[in-house]
Amino acid sequence: MPKQQDVILEVRNLQTHFFTEDGVSKAVDGVDFSLNKGETLGLVGESGCGKSITSLSILRLIASPPGKIVGGEILFKGQNLVTKSEAEMRAIRGNEISMIFQEPMTSLNPVYTVGEQIAEVLRLHQNMGRKEAWDKAVDMLRLVGIPSPEKRATQEPHELSGGMRQRVMIAMALACRPEILIADEPTTALDVTIQAQILELMKKLQVEMGMSTIMITHDLGVVAETCDRVAVMYAGKVVEYTTAKNLFASPKHPYTVGLMNSLPRLDEDVEELQAIKGNVPSPFNMPQGCRFAPRCPHATQLCHDKLPELLLQEDDSKVRCWIYTPEWDGANQTVTGTGV
C-alpha cells in the first residue's frame, strides 16, 4: 500500500443513507478507500451499488433531505470534508475537486453558451474578469481538442454533439486545475468510437495536469483501460480493493468473479455466460450477513449470518469474503484462489 504522504483523498467508513417514506435506504454503508496523487482509482459496480452516491458524497452534493452522510470521514489533504461548512465546500467544488457526469446531453445548461459556462467557473474561483475568463475558456476548449474553439465558445450546448459536450464538461472541470477529478460514468452515454476519443483525452490531460482521478464505471473494459487501482462495490460496500492488474489476473471476491464471467467478451467465445443468479438486494432491506451471500455460489451459513471484514491479502489486495479468512471451514475447500 502507498506511503501516507502520497494520499490525497481518504474515505473512511463512509455511510450515506436516504430517509424516505418507505424506510431508510442504506445506499452507501461503510465504504473505505484512498486515492493517491496522480493515480486513477476505479469505483466499479452495477446500478445501485452506491458508487455514484459515494462520489456525490465526496463533494457533499447529496440532496438533503432525504440524503444524509450519517457516518465516516472524507479526508481531503488531511481535512475532513464531512464537517466543513457549505461555504468552505463551495470553495472546493469545481476548484480543487471537480466532477463530470454521465449524461453530456443534459449536464450543460441549455440556455447559456458553452464559453459562458466555462468562464463562469473561472470567474468564481480564480477572480478573473469577464474578458480574461472568456479567453481562458477558449484556451480550455482548445486544450480538450475542440476545433475552432473561438466559434464553439459562442455556441449553445444543443449545437454540439454528445462527444463535444463531454469535452466541454471536461474543459469546465479542469479549468481551475483541480487536484482531483471525479468522473461519473463519463463515457457510458457515448458511442464506442467517441468513448475511445474521450478516454484518450482524459488520460492525456491527467498526465499533463498531474491530477488524481476517481473513475466511476460499470464497464470493466474502461477499468482495464484507465485505472491503476480499483474498488469493486456491491450493495453499498467495497467488496474487493486492489490494483487493476491484480483484479483482472486474479479476481478474488465471488462477486468480482461472477461479474467477469457474466461479461460477453470480444476476445473469447463461450457457449453460455456464467450469469450471477438472482437480483441485487433492496437497499431498504439488506441481508444481515455478507450482502452477496443470497447470490453467491459458495455461500455457507457463516456467510448468511455474519458480515466479513475487508481484509488484506498476501498480494496487497483487500477482500471482503469469508473464503479468504481463517474462519472458512475446511469442508468448503472446493474453492481455492483464482479458481472461484
Binding site: I194, V223, N279
Partner: protein, 329 residues
C-alpha cells in the same frame, strides 16, 4: 448475390433496397425541405433459425431498420419478404395478421408494458390476439410461458412495477413468445440491464432459440453482446451496410476500416492486454446531408480520392463475408 453456402439455408426474411427517409419540414410554408436518410438502400437476408445482429453507433439506422421491417414506421421504399410474402405490399389488416409471426422486444421493458395490467392480463391479451389457446386454458398457458422465461407461477398476478428490470424484460420476452413467433426482433433488448442480469437474459434468449427454433434479428451497439449471441453480424454506418459476415470472420478478420475502428475502440476487460487502437477523428456526420461517395470517407484513415465520389458496392469477399469498401475489391 446468394452464394453457395447461403443457398443451402432457408431464407426467412429478405430485405431488398429498403429506404427509410424521414421528411424535415421548414421554410415559411412548412414544406419538406430535406430528408433524414436514416436507412438508405440496404439489402440483407435472415435465414431460419439463425441470429443476425445489426451493430453500429447511434444514428446508423439499425433501430430504424427493425422498425421499418415491422412497419412501425412506414418505409419510403423497398421490399421486405417474409416467407415469400412482401410485408410492405400488404394491407393494414393483412399486416396485423402477420405481426404474430414477427415479435419485438424493446430496450426499455417498463415503457412497453402497461403499468395497469398484471402479468396475466399482459400475456392473456397476447393469447387473445393469437387466439389458438381456448380461453379456459389460457391461465395454464400463461404459467407455462412464465416457466419458459424463468418466472414463478405465483408472480402471475403481479404488476410490472413489482419486478426488477431484468424480470420485466423476461415478461416482455414471454409476451413475444405467447404469439409463437418465427422471428423476434430484439432492439437493444439487454442494453439497459446490468451485466450480471444481462448475462441471465442473454442465456435465456439463447436457450429459447434452441427450444422453439426461433430466428433473431438482434439490434445492439454492444459488440461483446453481439459476438456472444450472433451467427452473423451486419455493421451499419450512416444508413448503409458496410459489412456483413459470419461472426468468426467479422471479429477475426474485419475488412471495412469502420468495422476495424469499431472493434479496436472497445476497451477489453483485461489490464494485461494493451491493444493497438484506431482512434477515429471527429463525429458521425449528419444523416441529412451524408457525405458523398463512401459515407465513411470523412473519418476513414485510408480514404482515397475515389472514396469521395463513388459509393462502394457490397461485394463478396468469400462465401459468407461481404464488405462495401473500395480498398477491398
Amino acid at each position: 448475390m446468394i452464394t453457395q453456402a447461403e443457398s443451402k439455408k432457408k431464407p426467412l426474411l429478405k430485405v431488398n433496397n429498403l429506404k427509410q427517409h424521414f421528411p424535415i419540414k421548414g421554410g415559411i410554408f412548412g414544406r419538406t425541405v430535406n430528408h433524414v436518410k436514416a436507412v438508405d438502400d440496404i439489402s440483407f437476408t435472415i435465414y431460419e433459425g439463425e441470429t443476425l445482429s445489426i451493430v453500429g453507433e447511434s444514428g446508423c439506422g439499425k433501430s430504424t431498420t427493425g422498425r421499418a421491417i415491422l412497419r412501425l414506421d412506414e418505409p419510403t421504399s423497398g421490399s421486405v419478404f417474409f416467407e415469400g410474402q412482401d410485408l410492405l405490399a400488404m394491407s393494414k389488416s393483412q399486416m396485423r395478421n402477420m405481426r404474430k409471426h414477427l415479435q419485438v422486444i424493446f430496450q426499455d421493458p417498463f415503457a412497453s408494458l402497461n403499468p395497469r395490467q398484471s402479468v396475466s392480463q399482459i400475456l392473456g391479451e397476447a393469447l387473445a390476439i393469437q387466439n389458438i389457446v381456448p380461453a379456459g386454458k389460457r391461465r395454464e398457458r400463461i404459467i407455462e410461458l412464465l416457466g419458459y422465461v424463468g418466472l414463478r407461477p405465483d408472480q402471475i398476478d403481479r404488476f410490472p412495477h413489482e419486478f426488477s428490470g431484468g424480470q420485466r424484460q423476461r415478461i416482455g420476452i414471454a409476451r413475444a413468445l405467447a404469439m409463437q413467433p418465427k422471428l423476434i426482433i430484439c432492439d437493444e433488448a439487454v442494453s439497459a440491464l446490468d451485466v450480471s442480469i444481462q448475462a441471465q437474459v442473454l442465456n435465456l434468449l439463447k436457450s429459447l432459440q434452441r427450444q422453439f427454433k426461433l430466428t433473431y434479428l438482434f439490434i445492439s451497439h454492444d459488440l461483446g453482446v453481439v459476438r456472444h449471441i450472433s451467427d452473423r453480424v451486419m455493421v451499419m454506418y450512416l444508413g448503409k451496410v458496410v459489412e456483413i459476415a459470419d461472426k468468426k470472420s467479422l471479429f477475426d478478420n474485419p475488412q471495412h476500416p469502420y468495422t476495424q475502428a469499431l472493434l479496436s475502440a472497445i476497451p477489453v476487460p483485461d489490464a494485461s492486454k494493451k491493444q493497438e487502437r484506431i482512434i477515429l477523428r471527429g463525429d458521425v456526420p449528419s444523416p441529412i446531408n451524408p457525405p458523398t461517395g463512401c459515407r465513411f470517407h470523412t473519418r476513414c484513415p485510408h480514404a482515397m480520392d475515389r472514396c469521395k465520389t463513388e459509393i462502394p458496392a457490397l461485394t463478396s469477399l468469400h462465401d459468407t463475408h461481404q464488405v462495401a469498401c473500395h480498398l477491398v475489391q
